[in-house]
Symmetry: C2
Subunit: 187 residues, 2 copies
DNA sequence: GCTTTTTACGCACGACCGTGCTTTTCTGAG
DNA sequence: CTCAGAAAAGCACGGTCGTGCGTAAAAAGC
């Protein structure tokens, strides 16, 4: 049932995710479903938690099975693109723009999750530095923000504009990031 | 009054923008305000239209007063960052994630606006190519998507995560884009 | 000054929202 | 088989949503 909730939240956001429609989709009565979560906020939090678990199994774990360093970073990028292209797009992207101005437990949770996401990118990048794939004066946090920018722009261009070149451009942008971080000449 | 509506939409989105709260804010009765727009969808469209006008006067026109080519591109970037940092963030970013899965007139309008935005970035970049600032084999559409990625990542990192390094990283990323597009050696 | 058009208001409607309370139905342990 | 506890349903509540209608005030045209 939480799977369904995440799917709905992908499309209409965490606010658009309503107890009535979710109950209908689960073929349950409204109060029957409501009993599982004690409030709507609790539902939103559980949806977030579940989405995170799904992200980890769909993106993080597969990426971690790739060899340390650049290959792992490439795997992370590829899986992330696939995740983002699931119907409805990335639930975190939707939730982030929805809650960046609404204080509360949901926002707090979301901030924690996104921080972890950024930290994960930076960590994978650091393994690349440790492996000698990337220059050791490169800034992992800078790379994380750049990486996420490529993801977000592609998300935008693909989902809203429907531009079928979005993926190609994202891949080229990613290659440029990698090339710039390579441990070669200069500086 | 549309100014107010845009400000509200920045924070809570085009769906969260409700006729009741907007009427309250404008110190009008609900039906009094409703009379101005004939439906909620019409209100959303007008908000979008107004936001576009505000964007043009706040970002586009000032940028166009800068000298053609790279200076203009830099001005565009700077003004855009300032626009995005206005309270509530960029209304188009909020609306885009809200409506990328909701077909209808609002989405259509939004797609048109964002296409124009991308086209504008690409056009400014092309003047840079024409001026000899950038290599003439650079892809303006690629640059536009990369440019917007930097904006989006900064939007995300600044507004949700509250990272005060977001701006610095965005600027560095922009400089890297410029450097890569410069008309120098190789290829 | 009178008439016509615009503008705003009061009010009500049906729908859906989140959320409690009470009752029924199911389930599993003894 | 019985019976306690969990799960689901039924129902109702106060609230807000978008939207119409009839009317009163205000503005504009003559």
């Amino acid at each position: 049932m939480l799977d369904r909730a995440v799917e709905v939240a992908r499309r209409v956001g965490l606010n658009g995710l309503t107890i009535g429609t979710l109950a209908e989709e689960a073929e349950l009565s409204k109060s029957g479903l409501f009993g599982h979560f004690r409030s709507k906020e609790a539902l939103q939090l559980q949806v977030l938690e579940h989405a995170r678990a799904r992200f980890e199994e769909f993106v993080a774990w597969p990426a971690l099975r790739a060899p340390r360093g650049e290959p792992r970073l490439r795997a992370l990028f590829d899986w992330w693109l696939a995740w983002d292209a699931l119907p409805g797009g990335c639930p975190f992207v939707a939730a982030a723009t929805e809650f960046d101005d609404r204080p509360g437990a949901v926002r707090d949770r979301l901030v924690r999750d996104e921080r972890d996401l950024f930290e994960m990118i930076a960590t994978v990048f650091r393994t690349g530095v440790a492996e000698g794939h990337f220059r050791d004066d490169a800034d992992p946090d800078q790379f994380a923000q750049d990486f996420y920018g490529v993801i977000l722009a592609r998300h935008h261009t693909l989902r809203l504009l429907g531009d079928e070149q979005a993926d190609n451009r994202a891949r080229r942008a990613f290659e440029a990031l990698i090339a710039a971080a390579r441990a070669t000449r200069s500086d």
